[in-house]
Symmetry: D2
Subunit: 422 residues, 4 copies
């Protein structure tokens, strides 16, 4: 899989990479750089879909997941709806009916196909979706080439958010197809060559001393609205592990009855353990020769040295309690990470923090329908930091706030431990 090689494990821009693009504020505007960035991102989407049959691209294996084809069409709709439709005079909508099918959740952008019904749409086919993408790609390239410079000032910020948006869906494409394949007793392989990245293998702990400092987006480079404003936080003394928790550590938790002893669990988590019959991380299966797991390379034995993944917040929290440790807050994580003190912070597994996902003080969402991008999800979820093996190149950054519900575990989610407030 070409995609796999392209996955970045750091947040440093790669030399010669077309992504990320220049800042939309940079003058003079480098139109070719923007076109290259657009093409790079769009090509990565198709590259990730390439190993999949039309059938693979069709299915929605649970309500949280979406079909590959839907991701390909929805990211295209995003440019058509927010960029071409509003900023490209004379643009011809490819097919009005697709707006109903491929709007995800933007209430202000009109009615839409119910989320759980995304897998019911066989037409347009995977092949026909290619036509939709090509139509929009041509229009965006023309727009970038031909638009007045003044118009580009409005266009580039939307283009930029569209590119980061598409990268988010690139990550979901991998996690969603992994979930779908895990439903098939045949255990299909997405990429024979897929492997976990090599760990930095850092040991020991970072010590944070008490301080009032700032976190959040400071104004340089792209960030989603939920990373702003930059603001003061009070950090209390804490220590954070440089290493991620590994499968070997998790096996000890399992063997010590971790999934059977209520005293380690949040009440809501314990209900989930019982109703779902959890006794190991997601996709783990007990075999005659020990634990195996469904991966992008098919069913593979558990490697004890790799970071544990496909764990929910509830499991991360229970593991920390069993360990007599804590999860870090997102502020603690960000402060330690920006000084380069954490190992494997990016490109392995998203790391659960103990911070409930909410607005930063003074947060204001974007105006219009794009204001629904992040703000309306600020309840009942927890913040994850870092990035994962499935995150696209150039997408991660220190201040990135990912968020999921505490029971969800189909993402590449793991943890690192800390001792907080002692």
């Amino acid at each position: 899989m070409a995609a796999s090689a392209a996955i970045s494990h750091s947040t440093e821009p790669q030399a010669g990479s077309a992504f990320p693009p220049p800042s939309p504020q940079k003058r003079p505007i480098d139109r070719e750089a923007w076109i290259a960035a657009y093409r790079t991102v769009r090509a990565e989407t198709e590259s990730r879909a390439a190993p999949l049959s039309p059938e693979d691209q069709q299915i929605q294996s649970m309500e949280d997941a979406s079909p590959t084809k839907w991701h390909r069409a929805h990211t295209t709709w995003f440019f058509e709806q927010f960029l071409l439709g509003e900023h490209c005079p004379g643009y011809r909508i490819y097919d009005e009916r697709l707006h109903y099918l491929f709007n995800s959740y933007y209430v202000q952008a009109g009615p839409r196909q119910p989320r759980f019904m995304r897998g019911m749409i066989t037409r347009p086919t995977a092949e026909e979706t290619r036509g939709y993408r090509a139509h929009v790609d041509a229009a965006v390239a023309s727009l970038l080439r031909d638009a007045e410079t003044a118009a580009l000032e409005a266009i580039l910020p939307i283009l930029e958010i569209g590119l980061y948006h598409e990268q988010q869906h690139q990550e979901l494409m991998l996690t969603d197809i992994l979930h779908a394949f895990a439903q098939n007793p045949l255990g299909p392989v997405y990429d024979e060559a897929w492997r976990w990245p090599v760990s930095e293998s850092r040991k020991g702990q970072v010590e944070l001393s008490r301080s009032v400092t700032q976190i959040g987006h400071g104004g340089e480079g792209f960030a989603f609205d939920n990373e702003s404003p930059r603001h003061d936080v009070l950090v209390l003394p804490a220590t954070i592990d440089r290493a991620l928790v590994t499968n070997a550590q998790w096996l000890a938790f399992i063997e010590d009855g971790g999934y059977r002893r209520a005293e380690f669990w949040l009440s809501d988590g314990w209900l989930k353990v019982q109703s779902e019959g959890w006794e190991a991380p997601g996709y783990w299966r007990r075999t005659e020769r020990g634990w195996s797991s469904m991966t992008l390379a098919g069913i593979q034995p558990i490697d004890p040295t790799q970071p544990v993944t496909h764990i929910s917040y509830y499991e991360a929290d229970a593991f920390a309690r069993w360990s007599g440790r804590d999860l870090p807050t997102e502020a603690e994580w960000e402060i330690a990470a920006r000084d380069g003190l954490l190992g494997d912070a990016f490109g392995h597994v998203w790391q659960w923090t103990r911070s409930a996902y909410g607005p930063y003080p003074g947060y204001r969402p974007l105006p219009g329908a794009l204001g629904e991008y992040n703000g309306k999800f600020m309840s009942n979820q927890y913040v994850l930091r870092g990035s994962s093996v499935a995150t696209s190149e150039g997408h991660a950054r220190i201040g990135y706030r990912n968020f999921f519900y505490p029971h969800q575990r189909w993402q590449f989610t793991g943890l690192r431990l800390s001792d907080a407030g002692r």
Copy 2:
């Protein structure tokens, strides 16, 4: 659609048709006729799948329905499991793992994919399924050509049931894909040329006088086990309409508040009307220009002269009560039909009877796993008689007992009225 032209509207064998095959008891055994019948039926399945994309063949739009690809593979599994596996020495199973995926409900044939998860199987693909079919087809043809005559005595009855079994799935392929397409706001078209067959337009009523007579399978030709044994029934005086109930009649029911007046409905039916929000037959939609319906030819205006279809037993029963009439029993239907007295008995819509589906007196299922074919469904369902526009050529017969739950309406189901026991 080639398939459409081939749909038979009578029960008479067509001259020169390869199906139905000779009786398995006929001597000498005409091996070529059996091979031709096998090929005819197998080709019809592929012909019905031909207009569909791989995506179309993938989806399961509700638990009652199955993916096209699943139908194609399951009917193949049926021959592999019951014919080749047991009667073809040296036969090489195509892929053991497919038995889990494509066993429908035969508990005695081993564990199987849960019904509601049939749409989760993207591999084998639609294209790969073709390979499975070809492998089995070659083996069956060789078997028919090369088996000892004595062995054929055991083989032919199983082959025959396999062919009728596959025809049943051919009907489901059309009704299932119609349901799937109806979920898509784009209203995909299965066959532009699809049309309702022309009605025989018979008027008036058949009068049945009191008699003790026989119904059920008398021993000639193929029949499923649930049609036996032939047995006496007491028929009371009744009259049965020669014509089917039409859309025009149903519109009068709707306009008279049929779906809003509890007094016409069985209690369980009324609960369904309310929980599902029924206000018309399945697939009907109110448009600015009157009622339309999703059909195999896409969304079409309702034709008042055609028989009403996609109605549940509850609706048929309510309509009869609103009309001050009855539904016939299955015995009444069979007696009237075998004397050729009913119009449009075959090839239009299955006709609900008021007979609960149960065993005929003295019924015994087939031995072994095939005994699960019909017998275990003999509760909570109602008998339908006749055949529909989607029934394969050569499949229908006078004594045929179809059965569905009283709330189901995705089949081509309609009704004719009677006055019973007066």
Copy 3:
């Protein structure tokens, strides 16, 4: 419990008993006999409620069951709605608001409290319900005493149906409270002295020969509308056991893997076995000293000589298949019973037949809201014949058609076996 002693085990009227009352057609009208019948039935309801605390009378332990207090009030509402409200000029409604609360399912009698919410009504209290009953009782007695003779002609048939209706609820009072008590780990006792009636202990089988004969209500004495009209049926040769199936026989079924072997079960039944985890009849619990069961006398060891009870149709059917036997049809049962050939036909357990519950040929429901009494339930249920230990004195008769859904088993339901149509 006084009620227990009063439970009749035959259908013969007891000498000196006030119930059943005279025929409404009998002249001259014996007003005192009707008043006595009314008082007898009404007193039995209160007698059955007497051992219960206000809390006991409050709860609804599942949607199928109703609170004792609700039964007491609903039966009272029935007389107020259908008798006093329509036939007693000047009658003062006790409290209009109770009509919403205590209408069961008569759509034509107005809106009503949702069935599953019956346990939410704490006011009126059990004690206040006594006031409602007394108000209606006084009015009914006055009406019977003072009405014009001509008016009584319309009144008595409604009164009569009201009395049989109340007796039906008397049976439900016992089965519903048994279900409620079975939810309480303390295992409350309804009646310390409660015992199974003594069996008639008949052995062998009744032989039925082929005949066309009549079943159904012939016009003498009371019957519900669903027992009419009397009509011809064709009965095929059959044999029916004189004895009921016992707990000892059922234990053999359990020990032979009856609840674990799919081959004995209807498909819908097997789903129920699995989803509910059935491994024995309702209320059975495995203890260190063998099987026990919750009964009206609290938790008691299973008596192998008693008839098995609290079994669903699915279990009865599976048991018959395991036995290589059948269940009788309702016609076979009625013909054998009316000749006195069946042992323990009444007063032990209702006996499942293999007849789906439907209208007799020519059946017409009562006019008006009372037409909803029986007719609208004629789908998806099976007929039971006989009567049970909980049936009120004078209520049972040969032609009585009881009916329940095939998964229900909180009634005193059992079976006798037959060999049908061989």
Copy 4:
């Protein structure tokens, strides 16, 4: 209702009040003061139950609520389990079986009746529950009188937590019975004389300037474990309204389409609005003469001057967004409240904050089963501050952290607005 008069609207101890008791650390130990405090709290529970019939005390109207009788027994079990069972040598358990029935959620204290089945327990009756309470009360009084002084050091902290625990259930008794009565179309009245307390009617806003300050329990007086440890927080500049949001303001929100405009709502909240059909606060009903609401005094017209109540967090958050305002954090609330700057902070409605409920830095739960009291609920909930009209006298304090799920609204929950972080 005597209870109503006793409800405190401030956090100041009332002169001469028996509750709160002395500090468990105070020497010499005033045994009589502790006995008086115990009796006062226990009597308040019975006083709140007094207006209720046995039936009223029986029902559980939703899974979140519990029967009155259950509250009375569970609070008694708490003393038996944690105080008498562990610290009273020779204590005779009243009835072992009650421990299964009346353990709420303490996994480490043994198995227990499933929460949603609490309404299924009719025995012990309300009357019998009185006996359980008396037995435990006598034992506790004896223990307090007779225990060695040294033993009292372990006893008093548990007694104290038991008293605050029982007061929490006193509040639930009122909110749960209000919910139960709201299910009854008759609209029963709990207390004819019940009235909203008079508002302090403060106007304007409290200004908070930036500071690092401390919140949490500082060591004096009782506090639950979740209020500790006292710790530094960074507070950013903010303003908080002195007044609560009123019904008049809420009516403006409704009239402006507040419940129909998705742009004001969190995504999870909007799903709830649609699935539950919310169009006003809990218990509100539209009548011909405007809005009314179910209250402890029965159905009453909405008083526009009173604080709005029975709103979920989702509604509070949507209202704030509609207002262009915020909800305060719990730290902001606590800082403003401890300087006495907020009007109606106590005794009216609990006030939603925008703080997700989590552990304070360095939080450690109590050892043993009592550690389950608060800690295991620290996910998916939001903190509320203040106290309500239903809170028992002496229970509230500045640092009190109440918490509920964001969709819950059967408590007396309201809000005050702020402008945060600007």
